[in-house]
């Protein structure tokens, strides 16, 4: 049972970013590998504010806004001119972008490890389960974010428009939808989710610029398992990845935990490419 709670706690960190990743994929049909670096930037942004004395949640808000702006800027500068290109080329460019962002952080902040000034407290226990207030906060915020995005997509005009553009961008433009503006809204939303996930990861880990690859793999695995057609599927995918990693360490062998994300991706893509909740998505 503790394993399940731990899996959910890890999933809670990955879920928002996985949803954002799927949003980007459904809108532009490419896998953005820089998600890890964007999360790290979110963590540093939140830490920066926290360092100035602001409480962590305000740092988190700043990270969300900063993440949104950064993704929009990176889309305009790097990905916009390459719109027509194949998924593979865009993946390569996103890896290069990830290297750049990491090193800009290293240039600005150096390589020392950082952390929020958060008192480290022993856990509370409840029905044999051990958890700390932070874990509750992380799970709570993550569920809130997932539901909020779900509600936005399902019930609001913008949500419908986003799903429409994701489904068929040319039809959307014929039907009078301002596709460029809707795409921008989608990017801002995804960037905000990356910033949020970055802040949540900062609560857990030492904040340092070497995390990007380690963060990117489970997020992409969660998105693919959840089904690249459906953003909400990504949240479910995150729980599955979290559980798979917990079980690997407990029963198989800890040093191979890094491979779990990849094995899961390979299995899903080979057996059920549309993942759990997704619909077959035709790709470039």
């Amino acid at each position: 049972m503790q394993l399940l709670l731990n899996a959910i706690a890890s999933a809670a960190i990955l879920a928002p970013a996985a949803i954002g990743f799927t949003l980007i994929f459904t809108l532009f049909r490419y896998t953005n590998f820089a998600v890890g670096a964007l999360m790290t930037t979110g963590a540093f942004a939140a830490w920066g504010m926290n360092e100035l004395g602001l409480p962590i949640w305000m740092g988190g808000v700043f990270a969300v806004v900063f993440g949104a702006g950064l993704l929009l800027a990176s889309d305009r500068i790097v990905f916009e001119p390459l719109r027509g290109r194949s998924g593979g080329t865009l993946l390569l460019v996103s890896i290069a972008l990830s290297v750049i962002i990491d090193n800009v952080i290293r240039f600005a902040f150096g390589t020392q490890i950082r952390a929020f000034d958060l008192p480290l407290r022993p856990p509370l226990t409840f029905a044999g389960l051990r958890f700390t207030p932070e874990t509750l906060w992380v799970i709570g915020i993550s569920i809130l974010a997932t539901l909020a995005v779900g509600a936005l997509l399902a019930f609001t005009r913008l949500g419908r428009a986003l799903r429409a553009v994701a489904d068929n961008a040319s039809l959307a433009s014929i039907r009078g939808l301002p596709v460029p503006r809707i795409e921008a809204a989608g990017i801002l939303l995804a960037g905000a989710l990356f910033g949020l996930s970055g802040t949540l990861a900062g609560l857990d880990l030492a904040i340092e610029p070497n995390l990007s690859l380690a963060l990117a793999i489970p997020v992409i695995a969660a998105a693919i398992v959840g089904g690249l057609g459906s953003p909400l599927g990504a949240a479910l995918g995150a729980v599955i990845i979290g559980l798979a990693e917990e079980l690997t360490v407990a029963f198989i062998s800890a040093p191979y935990k890094g491979a779990v994300g990849f094995v899961v991706i390979a299995l899903v893509l080979l057996i059920r490419p549309q993942g759990l909740l997704g619909r077959p998505v035709e790709r470039k």
Partner: protein, 408 residues
């Protein structure tokens, strides 16, 4: 085709021109070129800068006092990226392009071992800090000096500490890298010698992870009375956090460089109770404090820059060796270093004092900022004083110091 040929030639020209410009412009007679290779990125990132800063400070000081043999010392700094593949390429540049006489400051044992064949082949001196027990195996020409005791010596001290505090059953955990691997073996061996034993199997985890919850859970489930975690600060902080958050109440034992100021700031007063030890700079010793002030740090009675002080000694020894040997030939310098370090002779703590001794023709014994600096035949430290601490009220409180003699 035309464009690419022009681009290739111009970029090759840049590669050729740069070092020549460096050599001609700087000094009347050729300067003494020293390579400083420290981990500025990758796993060792948090520790590299203090080493390269120490090198730069010493070189600046020596040049201000007339350099070595009247020649200016030129320092070329490279990033080892805590990765042997990148380190080998950087070392090639230092050796073949910059023609360095020595490469100082490597930190990760995999890097020091990685560039060793290259340095041995080019007869380039290596002075570094590393603790893997495999380091001496790579040297066949007596051209390496290591300012840090090997894991064997380290493990003996920590095993003493554990047993003295009543922990005979200790679990071991660490990242899957060469440092932790050899530390795990030595710690298990020395614990057995003292009648204790490792709880379960030494537990290795994958460094650089998105979360360490699962690893901590594994350790908590074993519920050992104490755990020795041999991690770098980048993985020790999250693992420690998850252990506390997971409700582990046993004793945590680790290495001092994992619980420096950055760790205490990150974890706050939950750091109290941690037992840690390592070959440590003699707090309060004059040479250690001179080093700290040289790099602009006010001594605070705490363990500070435990790697920076070793880099300080690396550079002093190298330059004093050259001054004494009156040459930059590695073998002559190495012999000189052995005499300077092991003595017997007048105690000296800085390059200036040493230089005065050389001019006066009297023998000297260099007493460094990081340790008394006495080397064995294979370039490893003879003995090193260890300090063992307990974190109380956010401060490192000294419990005992032992001198662990690696030669037994």
């Amino acid at each position: 085709m035309k464009l690419s040929r022009r681009l290739f030639i111009s970029s090759a020209a840049v590669t050729l021109a740069a070092p020549a410009y460096l050599r001609a412009g700087l000094a009347q007679s050729a300067p003494i070129v020293i390579g400083s290779m420290t981990p500025l990125t990758g796993g060792g990132g948090p520790y590299g800068p203090e080493k390269s800063d120490a090198h730069r400070a010493v070189v600046a000081q020596v040049n201000a006092q007339g350099g070595v043999m009247g020649r200016e010392v030129q320092l070329i700094s490279e990033d080892s990226e805590t990765n042997p593949e990148a380190a080998v390429r950087a070392a090639r540049k230092l050796i073949d392009a910059d023609k360095v006489s020595a490469i100082l400051g490597t930190w990760a044992s995999s890097v020091s071992l990685g560039i060793m064949p290259l340095c041995q082949e080019a007869n380039v001196l290596q002075v570094f800090s590393g603790s893997s027990d495999y380091l001496p195996d790579g040297d066949t020409k007596g051209l390496i000096f290591n300012l840090q005791p090997l894991n064997k010596a380290w493990a003996v001290a920590l095993a003493d500490l554990a047993v003295q505090r009543g922990f005979t059953e200790v679990a071991f955990a660490g990242p899957k890298n060469d440092f932790a691997a050899s530390m795990g073996e030595s710690f298990a061996a020395s614990l057995e010698k003292l009648g204790g034993s490792i709880v379960g199997e030494p537990f290795y985890y994958n460094p650089g992870q998105a979360s360490y919850r699962a690893e901590a859970e594994h350790l908590i489930r074993m519920n050992p009375p104490a755990i020795f975690v041999a991690g770098y600060v980048t993985d020790f902080v999250p693992v420690y956090r998850e252990l506390i958050r997971g409700g582990f109440t046993g004793q945590i034992i680790t290495l001092s460089f994992a619980v420096g100021p950055a760790f205490k700031e990150a974890v706050g007063d939950a750091a109290n109770g941690i037992l840690h030890g390592s070959p440590v700079p003699p707090i309060g010793k004059d040479s250690y404090e001179t080093y700290l002030r040289l790099v602009g740090i006010e001594p605070s009675g705490q363990v500070q820059n435990s790697f920076g002080c070793m880099a300080y000694d690396e550079m002093n020894l190298c330059l004093l060796g050259m001054e004494a040997a009156k040459s930059t030939d590695s073998f002559a310098v190495a012999d000189a270093i052995r005499k300077i370090a092991n003595g017997p002779g007048e105690r000296v703590t800085t390059f200036a004092e040493g230089k005065a001794m050389i001019e006066a023709g009297t023998a000297m014994n260099y007493d460094g900022a990081s340790s008394s600096v006495d080397f064995q035949e294979n370039g490893m430290l003879k003995s090193r004083d260890f300090a063992l601490y307990e974190v109380k009220g956010g401060e490192d409180e000294i419990i005992l110091t032992t001198t662990s003699d690696a030669t037994q």
